[in-house]
């Protein structure tokens, strides 16, 4: 078996065994399958893409075909231990609303997104004057599904505004490695950011 992707392993390390997980934009279901295998987690993936839905069913991952932009209203408050949004935040219509929804249906949220503050992105836009294209952001400006890109700082400030308490965060590079330099300059060197958070307790 292929070693699990580092972002999967980080998420796997973050969640408690036997958790109930809702994976928003679950793709082919490989994260949920990994969490089921390694952590005894159970739950559902939400996915809009026909092909991905078929892959989930083949894999035996519970998948519900739906549009995340339609919200999570069919899920009751506190239904899950974790609600995961893996590399999807930047493609939804209302990221702020979805974050609120995540913390309504789940106790904790986990978000991963491509960091628009990465030096290569900044170089392409700031120096070359072109919309950035990279491994983490492979699309051209005219066909990208990524309509709400942000940097680590942007995300942190949104969390603050929304009363969201960040419990843990990590960045990895495009090969999904963790290195010392990344820890020192995450917003410049991190390509993928991972956050675990919950609703901040009132003081």
């Amino acid at each position: 078996m292929m070693p699990a992707r580092i972002d999967f392993r980080i998420i796997g390390d973050w969640i408690r065994p036997g958790s109930r997980v809702l994976d928003l934009g679950c793709g082919d279901g490989s994260l949920l399958a990994y969490l089921a295998r390694s952590k005894g987690a159970s739950g559902y993936g939400l996915e809009i893409d026909d092909t991905h839905v078929g892959e989930c069913i083949k894999r035996g991952v519970n998948v519900i075909q739906t549009d995340l932009d339609a919200g999570l209203s069919e899920f009751d408050e506190g239904s899950f231990d974790y609600v995961v949004l893996s590399l999807t935040l930047q493609a939804v219509r209302y990221p702020d609303r979805l974050l609120r929804e995540m913390l309504r249906v789940g106790t904790e949220g986990i978000v991963t997104f491509p960091n628009f503050g990465h030096w290569r992105t900044r170089w392409q836009l700031g120096v070359l004057g072109r919309m950035p294209v990279s491994t983490a952001l492979p699309h051209e400006w005219y066909n990208t599904p990524n309509i709400h890109l942000c940097t680590l700082r942007d995300f942190a400030s949104l969390c603050e505004r929304e009363g969201i308490e960040v419990l843990e965060s990590q960045v990895v590079d495009h090969a999904h490695r963790r290195r010392l330099a990344l820890r020192l300059l995450p917003n410049l060197l991190g390509e993928i950011a991972l956050y675990r958070f919950r609703r901040a307790r009132l003081p």
């Binding site: 839905v53 035996g60 069919e74």
Partner: protein, 373 residues
């Protein structure tokens, strides 16, 4: 599937019904495809819809013009693979294709039951199918599968016999009918009930049948089975003879289609059965006994479930399937839901739409993988 022969079993023990009535003695006609394995773990029940029957796949004779109603999905190498599964399809009580129904002879009177045939519900059907399973030596179904009214039976199975069903596959169904659904059924029933040839349901004694009523009921039904898009695509405003005739004969192709559907229905379907099947649909409401809380009604369920809906189905729209999905995940049950893009309307569940076939096949692969060795 090749040639198949229906089988028949008599059940002399009385069946108590949801209406409070009782069916003292009845027969069920059924077909099977494939072979039951040694530990009887590979049995799959296919439940039929309003006008369906036990004849799911294959042909009854060499000169049979049409195969069973789900031939696209059942047979060797198909989604429901008869080389892997022992597939059982039962004709429901009250039907007119062989199982005891309104046209059968009432042993108490020696005449056809007619209007005296007791009203049967989805739960009654499921109870009778459970007895059939007992007789066939099937303790637990690997899966119960159905579309439309058949999907409602699959859901009822999961509720009523949680330890006798491993998977439920619920296609193009709803947890209950809307007022609009019931309204269409009522118009269909009124067409039959007000036909002078109906004779209070005793038309058998008059050697006639309410053909006009049944024809109108069927035409109405077919309108609800198709989407506006597919009607436009298939018929549009095409004229049968290329010009307007300025009379009340068939001018448009859609009229011709509906009349053809109506003509092929009378003589093959029983008007009392139509009344009964539409009532079974109207009455289906598992949440009704649980304070209108579907999640509470599904609390006993243990089966894993696949729910499928079709984008253009307005009779049982995807949103209705989502109600079932929600009630299942509210109970933390394993459920998957796919919405198949299809222009065919409600009828899509009968079609070999590639993505539909793929998903059904993939899910049945999982069912097969889960069979005890």
């Amino acid at each position: 599937m090749g040639l198949v022969t229906p089988a028949r079993l008599r059940f002399p023990e009385p069946l108590p019904l949801a209406s409070g009535g009782m069916l003292a003695d009845y027969e069920l006609v059924y077909e099977t495809y494939g072979t039951l394995n040694a530990d009887a773990s590979n049995a799959v029940l296919v439940c039929h819809a309003l006008s369906g029957s036990h004849h799911v796949a294959g042909y009854h004779s060499e000169d049979d013009k049409r195969p069973g109603w789900w031939e696209h999905h059942v047979g060797p190498g198909k989604s429901l693979d008869s080389r892997r599964f022992f597939i059982v399809a039962c004709n429901n009580l009250g039907s007119c294709f062989g199982s005891t129904g309104p046209a059968s002879i009432n042993p108490a009177t020696g005449r056809a039951y007619g209007p005296d045939f007791p009203m049967v519900t989805v739960a009654d059907w499921v109870a009778s199918q459970a007895r059939l399973a007992d007789r066939l030596g099937i303790r637990k179904w690997a899966a119960v599968v159905g579309g439309s009214l058949g999907g409602m039976q699959a859901l009822q199975w999961a509720i009523d016999y949680p330890d006798r069903i491993a998977h439920a596959i619920i296609i193009a169904a709803a947890p209950k009918l809307t007022a609009q659904n019931i309204a269409f059924n009522e118009v269909a029933r009124q067409a039959i009930l007000t036909d002078p040839d109906f004779h209070e349901g005793r038309f058998y004694d008059h050697a006639t049948e309410p053909r006009r009523g049944l024809r109108i009921a069927r035409m109405l039904g077919h309108i609800t089975y198709l989407s506006d898009d597919i009607m436009r695509e298939k018929f549009g405003r095409d004229l049968r003879s290329g010009k307007l005739n300025f009379d009340y004969q068939v001018a448009f192709q859609i009229e011709s289609y509906l009349r053809h559907q109506a003509d092929s229905f009378v003589g093959r379907f029983d008007a009392n059965t139509y009344l009964l099947m539409t009532k079974a649909l109207d009455y289906f409401d598992p949440a009704g006994v649980a304070g209108d809380n579907l999640a509470a009604a599904l609390a006993p369920v243990r089966a894993d479930t696949l729910v499928l809906a079709f984008t253009s189905d307005w009779r049982f729209a995807p949103a209705r399937s989502r109600e079932i999905v929600k009630a299942l995940h509210d109970n933390d049950l394993n459920v998957s839901y796919a919405e198949i893009t299809a222009s065919h309307g409600h009828d899509a569940f009968l079609m070999p739409i590639p993505r539909y076939v793929d998903i059904l096949t993939a899910y049945m692969d999982r069912v097969f993988a889960g069979l005890s060795p």
